[in-house]
Every structure is written in structure tokens, then in C-alpha cells.
């Protein structure tokens, strides 16, 4: 250092700075999100005049509604956007959704006659406007403020008001009332009644209850008719003749994945984690599977805590991809490169990265495996290939009962409904010959079918034992649909769990078995494109699954002296394997530091587990004894096997809640005297309820009272102090 002269250092530093600039030049461009603004929208936004003049902007963009939102936390903004969407869907009217802070109100008196202004106004604190509405409120209420032409006269201006407030506060919804009063005073005409939503309880219901009447009054006042909107597109789909191949998204979930640039991994940039272990957990996987998968996160920067969830990003099964491509008549050009633009980015964003291809959208980006919604069938009906098909799909769209019976109970996906309505055999392998093509514009598909979401699993390991590995315990979902006169019973497969099952077969080089024993023709375990876009999820014999971690509040108390009661039958045991491992890691450290008696003052860790048979589906059966021995008697497990003896005296099955009752003395002691924590994981509907009931009974009796009073109060108190935590699903 001393030998380096100042000027050398300067030049060195300059060189470093320039090098940094050069180095980051590439990633700067790569990291910038692919911004798609359609040329149409762009030209609309480029008004030459005053950018704070909303009327000029409305005129330039051909918008007939301006929707202002006074929003502090974003809720009012959400409702403003919803109103804009509904105006478009119902009447084909487009809106300018405006932050009032960004506009001036002098021109409020020049809103054209065929236009209207909406105010979606939240009331804050002690009856105050939100920060972004302060100016607006002043202009409306201050008699000294004059509009551009008419002074204080707004006669003829048509408006709608919806207020958001909170009944637990005084001055409920006063801001929307002030807006209403001021406008009325100046001669403006309100359409419909003023809506008021209570953010404390019933915002959604309040809104739903209000909006129909409002839209009716709106239609009359504006002279518009419902049904004019249905075909207004949200997106414009263009086929590209040429595009650099490396810039086309083929299932990559982020820009970084496409450009292979480094960045933190989260829900926006999932990490393709290599599967290091994938094995069957059931001792006897006759017709049920439960997969244990270990995902290696080394070097990814991903960290997790016990009790967190891992999101796994599946693709759709190939059979369904083909089916929908064929039903849409897109099979022959499935690999055509397409770009999609939002026609109104404020209302609808393109939900996945583009440019891409037709097949990629169906395989990776939208949830074509989900039940076909009733509403989308109405959209599809307009593009039926023949009158019979049109009549068939219209019936499913308009008749709720028929829809429920045929589509919902029959578990039909969008592709299957199209086939069924056109009279195709939905049980045959779909081909061009046996599948009728519906000329549904692809933008309608993008608008109608939701984005394919990650599937979340409770992580079944502890980072203290497995710092670089996330374990997943996943029972494979497969069930039979209810048969009806048009669709006989079929196997229905869960997307995420069968994706994992596919990965497990591939990772171990196993052959996926045919399901023939059930007598259903052509029914096989669905196959997935598990090698990923451009083979990114396969490296030699290692397969990868895109993942991210979602934080949870399902955590052990830090202090091991607190007793812990865990209730997790079936795969509900997953997070508790992580919990127990967490305590094992702590036990090892404590014993190393403080000797063999280090766990003497630890609280009892009790696990209530349930399965069908100890020889069939007992998860991690061989692991529990070793955990118990490391925890020196502080870990106790009670297992209810519902389909093997012992049964109850009346012959009925024994479940976890029965075992909890049997252990009532120690349970009550852990909770009441030990100030312990209770955790429940698994089925929300039956199990979790039954467990809460038995807890109330135990605690009520222990306190010398009843389940209904003392017991219920105790359970409520436990919940309010987060000493009873649930991780449940329905």
C-alpha cells in the first residue's frame, strides 16, 4: 500500500470502476424485465397536453370513465380496478383508473356528457382522507376553488361513489359521504346509491350487495346496455415470424432463468433444485403412493426454517396439453412463437413471460388441469364449431345444476368440456381425428384460465440437521370422478403430486406402472415434461424441480423447556418430522456442551400420529425410534392405526383425537402447568375440528368446568397467544 502512489491508486480505481460498468452492462440489460407495452396502448398514453389533465387523457384514450381512488393501504385501489374491469366486461367501456394525487381537478366541469367519474374513497384514522386524496377533498369542499369554466357548478356531471371504512372506528366512511355531499351540492348527478364497505367485517359482501343496483342505475343514466362487453379482449396475441430462439420463453419461470443470470431465488425466480433422494414411503404402495423427495439447495442462497412451506412449480401433464391444443385447433402450430400484449396494462397484465409458444403456455404457464369454470364456458360458446356443440356448451354454462353434475362432479377440465360438447370421446387418447377444433381466440384462453400456481408442501426436515436439503412428504392425489349420464367414472390426478411421482420414477430409473387393475382403459399415470424447458431440469441422471420457500409462523418455541404437543395424522406429520429433527439438533448441541443430563429440564415433546395400518402407510416408521433415543425420553409418540386392532369397544376405529383423550392427564398438565404449545397439521374439516373439541373437553374438565365454557375459553386463549397453531388444508 505504502509503495503505491496516489495517482496509481486513482487510475486503478478508475479502471475498477470502468470494469464494473462493463461487467454489469450485460446483466443490466438481461435483468430488465421484458417490458411489453402494446403499440396501441402506448399511442393512447402519449397525450401531448398537460399530463395532470385527466379529461384530456380520457378523450385521448377514448375512455368514458375516470375512476379515482383514495387509497392508503391499496384496498381502494383494488376496488377501483375491479370496477374498471366490470365496466369493461359488462358494457365494453374502458376506464382511466387514477391516483387523485397525479391529477388536477379544475377540468372536472368539462367531463363530456357521455362520460362519468367514479370515486372509490377510503376513510382513514379519525375521519381523514387518505394522503393521496387530500388535494381532491380540498378542491371539492373549498368554495374558493373554481373549476375551469363554471366556477362551482358541476351540473350534468354523472358520478358514482363507493366508500371504504372501518366500523370499529368512529367517523365510519365519512370521506365518501363528504365527496357525495360536495358533488351533490354542486349539481352533479349520482348514479345509484352511495356504496359503503366495512373493512372490518364485510367489505366483499358490502361491495357485491351494492354493485348490481349501481350498475343498473349506471346503465340507465349512461344509456348503455349490458352484454356489449363480453368480447372485449384483454390481450392481443401475435404470431411472430422470426424471433431469436434464445429469447423465447419455453417454460422458464423468470427472466433470469432464461438468460441464466444469477439472482436471489424467490417466488419470482424459483430455483431448479436437484433431487438427491426420491423414494416411496408407504410400505405397501398398492394403489396409493406417498413420495419422499429431498431437494438440494446448496449454493442457491435459499434458506428455510422448520415449519416453512416449499412451493414446487409443476407443469401440466402432456396428455392434457395435447388435448387442449387439439381442441383449440392449435396442435399443428403448437411451437409457433407468439407475443402477447395487454391492451390495458392497468387492468390486466400478461400473467406469464413472453414471447413464448402456444404449447409452452398450456404446458407451463396456465392451469389447464383445473376444473373448467362455468363462466369461461359462456365465452367459449360463441366459438362453437357447430350448432349442436354450441347448444351443449351453452347448457353447461347457463344451467347451474347441469354444470354441477356434469362438469363439477365429473371433474372436467377445459379441454375435456370442449371435447364433450363437440361429441368427442374424452377417454380416448386425443388426436386430430377424434378431437373437434374450436376456433377460440387464444387471448380468450389467456383471460379465462388462471396462471398455473406452485403447489405448497410443509417442509418435513429441519435446517439444523439438513442445512442444504429441503425434504418433502407428499401423498399422491388420485381419485375417481362421480359418473353421470354423459361422463363415466375416470381417474383424476392431482397436478403437483403426480408431477413429483413422475420425478421420483425418473430419478430412480423406474418404469411408471399402468393402472389396469381397475379396468379403466387407457388410464395410465400421467406423464410430464419433467426435463424442463431446454432440458434445464435434467443434468445427466439428476432431475431438478423449480422451488421457492414460503415463510410460515408454524414454529417451535425457542425454549426447549416448554412442552410441545404435535398432532399430525397422515402427511400432517410432515412438519413434525422437521420439528423433532430441530429438537434433536438442539439436544446434540446441549449434550455436547452440558453433558448427558442436559435435557433433564426439557419439556415433553408428544406426537400424536395416525395411519391406516402399521404395515402399510406408517410414515418414517424406522426413523422415530432413533429420534426418541437421542431425545432421552423427552419424545413420546402415540400412533392410531385406524384399520388394525385395537378398535374401540363398539368396534369403531381409533383416531388421533381418541389417543389425545387417553393421554388427557399429561396433555392437560403440559398445557396448563407447563405452559406448553399445541400444533395441529392436516385435514381442516374433520381432524382438526375433532382435535380442538377434544382439547376443549380435556382443558374444561381439568379446570373443573365444562368443554363448552372453560374448555372453549382456554382453547381461545391458547389460540390468541399462538400457543395453539394450525397448519391445515381442506
Amino acid at each position: 500500500m505504502a509503495s503505491t502512489s496516489s495517482s496509481d491508486v486513482f487510475i486503478l480505481a478508475l479502471g475498477v470502476a470502468l470494469a464494473a460498468l462493463y461487467l454489469f452492462r450485460d446483466s443490466l440489460f438481461a435483468a430488465s424485465k421484458p417490458k411489453v407495452t402494446s403499440s396501441i396502448t402506448k399511442s393512447l398514453d402519449d397525450t401531448d397536453g398537460n399530463p395532470r389533465d385527466f379529461v384530456a387523457k380520457m378523450k385521448a384514450g377514448n375512455k368514458r370513465l375516470a375512476i379515482f381512488y383514495g387509497s392508503q393501504t391499496g384496498t381502494a385501489e383494488e376496488y377501483a380496478i375491479r370496477l374498471a374491469k366490470e365496466a369493461k366486461a359488462k358494457f365494453g367501456l374502458t376506464s382511466l383508473v387514477c391516483d387523485p394525487e397525479e391529477y388536477d381537478f379544475e377540468t372536472l366541469d368539462t367531463v363530456p356528457e357521455d362520460c362519468a367519474v367514479f370515486f372509490v374513497m377510503a376513510t382513514y384514522g379519525e375521519g381523514e382522507p387518505t394522503d393521496n386524496a387530500v388535494q381532491l377533498m380540498q378542491n371539492l369542499q373549498d368554495d374558493a376553488f373554481e373549476f375551469s369554466k363554471t366556477g362551482r357548478d358541476l351540473s350534468g356531471l354523472k358520478y358514482v361513489v363507493f366508500g371504504l371504512g372501518n366500523k370499529t372506528y368512529e367517523h365510519y366512511n365519512v370521506i365518501s359521504k363528504y365527496v357525495d355531499d360536495a358533488l351533490e351540492k354542486m349539481g352533479a348527478i349520482r348514479m345509484g346509491v352511495r356504496g359503503e364497505g366495512d373493512d372490518d367485517k364485510s367489505m366483499e359482501e358490502d361491495y357485491l350487495e351494492w354493485k348490481d343496483g349501481m350498475w343498473e342505475a349506471f346503465a340507465t343514466a349512461m344509456g348503455v346496455e349490458e352484454g356489449q362487453g363480453g368480447d372485449t379482449a384483454d390481450f392481443a396475441v401475435r404470431e411472430l415470424e422470426s424471433h431469436p430462439e434464445e429469447k423465447v420463453y419455453l417454460g422458464e419461470l423468470s427472466a433470469r432463468a432464461l438468460t441464466k443470470t444469477k439472482g436471489i431465488h424467490d417466488a419470482k425466480n424459483p430455483y431448479p433444485a436437484p433431487l438427491t433422494v426420491a423414494r416411496e414411503l408407504f410400505q405397501d404402495p398398492k394403489d396409493r403412493n406417498c413420495v419422499h423427495v429431498e431437494l438440494n439447495t446448496e449454493g442457491s442462497g435459499i434458506t428455510y426454517q422448520h415449519g416453512d412451506h416449499v412451493g414446487i412449480w409443476p407443469s401440466n401433464p402432456e396428455l392434457e396439453v395435447d388435448r387442449l391444443l387439439l381442441a383449440l385447433g392449435l396442435y399443428d402450430k403448437k411451437d409457433k412463437i407468439i407475443n402477447i400484449d395487454s391492451l390495458d396494462p392497468a387492468l390486466a397484465k400478461v400473467p406469464f413471460p413472453v414471447p413464448t409458444t402456444y404449447a409452452t403456455v398450456l404446458r407451463h404457464y396456465i392451469d389447464i388441469s383445473t376444473l373448467a369454470g362455468r363462466q369461461m364456458l359462456g365465452t367459449f360458446a360463441k366459438f362453437a364449431p357447430n350448432p349442436e356443440a354450441e347448444a351443449a356448451i351453452k347448457e353447461l354454462n347457463t344451467n347451474k345444476e347441469v354444470y354441477h353434475k356434469i362438469v363439477a362432479d365429473g371433474c372436467l377440465k377445459a379441454g375435456e368440456v370442449l371435447q364433450l360438447a363437440a361429441g368427442n370421446d374424452i377417454r380416448a387418447i386425443p388426436t386430430t381425428e377424434n378431437t373437434t377444433a374450436w376456433p377460440i381466440p387464444f387471448d380468450m384462453i389467456v383471460s379465462s384460465i388462471p396462471r398455473l400456481q406452485p403447489r405448497y408442501y410443509s417442509i418435513s426436515s429441519s435446517p439444523k440437521i439438513h442445512p442444504n436439503s429441503i425434504h418433502v412428504t407428499c401423498v399422491v392425489l388420485k381419485f375417481q370422478s362421480v359418473s353421470n349420464e354423459r361422463v363415466s367414472e375416470r381417474w383424476v390426478y392431482g397436478v403437483g403430486s403426480n408431477f413429483l411421482l413422475n420425478l421420483k420414477y425418473a430419478a430412480n430409473g423406474e418404469e411408471a406402472p399402468l393402472i389396469s387393475s381397475t379396468g379403466v382403459a387407457n388410464a395410465v399415470v400421467p406423464t410430464y415434461a419433467i426435463t424442463g424447458p431446454r432440458g434445464a431440469y435434467k443434468q445427466e441422471n439428476i432431475y431438478k424441480a423449480p422451488i421457492h420457500v414460503r415463510r410460515s409462523t408454524f414454529r417451535l418455541p425457542t425454549n426447549p423447556k416448554s412442552p410441545v404437543i404435535m398432532v399430525g395424522p397422515g402427511t400432517g406429520v410432515a412438519p413434525f418430522r422437521g420439528f423433532v429433527q430441530e429438537r434433536v439438533a438442539l439436544a446434540r448441541r446441549s449434550i455436547e456442551k452440558n453433558g448427558p443430563d442436559a435435557l433433564a429440564d426439557w419439556g415433553l415433546i408428544t406426537l400424536f400420529y395416525g395411519c391406516r395400518k402399521s404395515t402399510e402407510d406408517f410414515l418414517y416408521k424406522d426413523e422415530w425410534p432413533s429420534y426418541a433415543s437421542e431425545l432421552k425420553g423427552k419424545f413420546v409418540m402415540h400412533t392410531a392405526c385406524s384399520r388394525e386392532p385395537p378398535y374401540k369397544p363398539d368396534g369403531s376405529k381409533i383416531y388421533v383425537q381418541d389417543l389425545i383423550w387417553e393421554q388427557r392427564e399429561s396433555v392437560a398438565d403440559s398445557i396448563l402447568n407447563g405452559k406448553g404449545y399445541v400444533y395441529i397439521c392436516g385435514d381442516a374439516k374433520n381432524m382438526s375440528k375433532a382435535v380442538e373439541e377434544v382439547l376443549a373437553k380435556i382443558l374444561g374438565e381439568a379446570k373443573g368446568g365444562s368443554a363448552e365454557e372453560e374448555g372453549a375459553a382456554e382453547v381461545k386463549m391458547l389460540k390468541e397467544r399462538s400457543r395453539l397453531l394450525l397448519d391445515v388444508w381442506s
Partner: protein, 311 residues
Amino acid sequence: MSSSTLDFNLPLSDILRQSTKDAHDDIAFSPSAAKLSNGELSKAAYTHFLMMLFDIYSALEEGLERHASHPVLEPIINTALLRRAPSLSSDIAQLLEVPELTWKSHPLYQSLVSSPPKALSTYVERIHAISNSGDPTPLVAHAYVRYLGDLSGGQTIRHSLAKAYDLDEAAGEGLSFYAFKELSSSKPASLGEMKRIKDWFRNGMNEGAGDNVTVKVAIVQEARDVFRYNGDLFGAILEHPELERAQKDLPVVPKAQYGSGFAVSSVLTVITAVSVAHFLLVVGGYSGPRGFAKLVAAEQWFTSFWSSTVQ
């Protein structure tokens, strides 16, 4: 309000409300609070502030957990709901765009560790002192001031912060500090539910303190101090002119890396070089949220390059 006019027979939450109203308003309407709530702090300064909060909550929550079964504290213990340190950690990582495991080695935090502002060390040391004393009851005051603030004013600034720092509000990224779960479920709490949480907390304080005037006096006295600690902490935000918005988000040069032993001229040279680099980076278009990450990365790289070259 002086304590002589306070009626210590009232429930603790009422006394606290009366006795801290002025202190609360002083902070709520301070210039620093305005800067924070309007999103006028640079992203680096805001991150720096969250880092200070992280140290405070870590100390507080460690203390609360240690004394969770103390009869005065027990009724306000709800770790899964209240605990803020993990969400602060996640938000800081998100703002710095680094993995959560590594933000503590970031120069911005390292400088905080090596030379913490007086306001921060006083605050943290006070919490440790209470936790390690025989009587942890004043921790109630610390929990009261912070958590109820987060459940009230914190909610009103969430939206403007999201806009200022280009955070995805719907996804809640970088904003988990402002998100709470419901009292009786793991669903996210709405504003109405937050009011119920505050009521629950006040009831818990009243239950814990009961009629014990000694306990009430100790907590009320501590609460005034806690407001002062927080006021000073806000003041500390403005102590770093280099963290102001005008500086285009260039993070502070960590002092530790350029400690004594270097001639002043060398240090000046380094500063000049950094300024030149800063100028080039800004001119090169490295501003805005993406640019922030680039700058942090560039700066880190520059720092490591520097230290490895000059050894």
C-alpha cells in the same frame, strides 16, 4: 402529563395512553417520521433503519421469550403473531437483493455493528439490561411502544413505502414487517383485525399488571423512556447525510475496511475514485431499483477487489 396527575388505579393501558400521548405525537410529527413515511429516505437509508430495528427487535424478542412465563408478561406473549425480527431479516435481504443468509455480512450492516449510532446502542443495551435483571416487567413497555406502533402507524406507511422502493405490494415482498397474522388463525390480518390485536394486547397488559401499582409505575416510566429511545433512533436516520436520497442510493463506504493506518491522502483518493465510479455508474444508467442492486454489487465487488489488492 406528569406522573403526579396520573391515576394509577386505572388499568395499565389507560395510564399508558394518557402518559405517553405527548411523547407519541412528538415522534409521529417529527421531520424524521415524515421522511420515513413519505418514502423520502433513500433505499439505503431505509434499509439501514430496518437494520437498526432488527437489532432492537432481536433483543426485545429474545427477552420476551426468555421471560414468557412471567405472570406480568405471559398475557401479552404471542410469539408467532408479534415476532418481527424474522420478517425484518427477510425484508432487509429483499431490499438488498441478496440471500437472507448473507445480509449480515453486507457493508451496510457491518458498519452498523462496528460503529453503532449512540441511539441504537443505548436502546439495545437498555433492553438487555432489563432482560438480565431480576425484574423483566419493564419489557412490557418496550413491547407496547413498538408493537402497537407497528399495528397502527406502520400500516399507513406500507403503501407509500411500496411505491417509493418499487416493492410488489400484492406479493408483500420486502414488506413482511408490516404484515401480521390473525389472532386465531394463520391468515393475514386486515386492518379491523389489527384493531382487535391491539385490544387483545391492551387487555393482556391490564391482566398482567392487575392492581399492582408498583408494576404499573415501572412500566409507565419505562414507556416514556422507550418513546425517547425511538425519537433518538428516528433522529439517527438523519445523522447520515450520505444516506440521503440526493446521493443516488450509493451505500456508505464501510469505515472498517479503511481503518487507521492509511494516509489521509489515500483515503481521499479512495473517496475520489468512488465518486468517479459513482458518477460513471449514475451516468451509465444505474439508477432506480435495479440500479440499486447493481450499485450494491459493484460497491461490494469494488471493496473486495480493493482489500485483496492492497494487502
